[in-house]
Amino acid sequence: MNPNHRSILSRLDDAVRWTGFPARVAKKTAVCWTGFPARITNKMSDTPSLDRKHQPLRWIPILPIAVSCALFIFSLTWPPALDGVSPGAIISIVTAFWGSIVGMAPIIYISGPLGKPSWKDDEREAALRKDSFLFCLWPLAALNCLGQPILLILSHWQNWQFEHSASVVSLSLMLNAALLGCLPTLYASWKLGRLPKE
């Protein structure tokens, strides 16, 4: 088969390899055949990962944040042309953007800010993971504490209709999800510079 004409499912299979899990499973299975499954189980659970490097994602997480911010600002400005659009169409559009953000989550978020599960952390990585989430906490808290009263005042002042309010609420939720998922990854990726090769 031509590699340029692969199905979506086969492309998704390739995407899963980025997570590193298939390689781990293959390694585990291979060792189990040698008759030492107990030893490999202990190795996987007790010791930190020595070979699994933290792969920084320095640019990709900016995309969902930028898209969410742009959509949220767009929903706040709410052009008059959208007043005639049916609520169903608005819900469909918002759901489509939600889907695109959720679709990016496995790349950025599913393995955490370091791109690997926390049970494989050594002490530096555990500290970095904790710092990443703590760093994310204050902008999110500040944004929500300041943003909610502002939205309330705006909705009253501009006399928002139901469709307008619904889109602002759902897009603010999307912005929150994007920030929660991507800010820790960005922090962990930018915190330390690249190491020179030995």
Partner: protein
């Protein structure tokens, strides 16, 4: 306050790689790199493990003050002899 270390010097002297040291003290080899560069301050446990691996006192490896250059140490040792 910065914490200075001589891990890279000891590693070069013993001819061991970052990965070998990382495996001996059970951390990721990136952690050894960041330690050597001074970007990460180790826990007491990790500092003691590294010192035990090299068979030296922890003060030989880590210091709150800057270590004197090796050339200076060698020159002083030569003068003492």
């Amino acid at each position: 306050m910065s914490l200075h270390n001589r891990i890279a010097v000891f590693r070069a002297e013993r001819g061991i790689s970052r990965r070998q040291l990382a495996e001996a003290v059970e951390v990721n080899n990136q952690t050894i790199g960041y330690l050597e560069r001074g970007d990460y301050k180790p826990s007491l446990e990790l500092a003691l493990k590294i010192a035990r691996h090299f068979g030296v006192a922890v003060e030989m490896l880590f210091s709150l003050d800057r270590f004197e250059p090796i050339a200076m140490t060698l020159r002083r040792a030569g003068e003492d002899e």
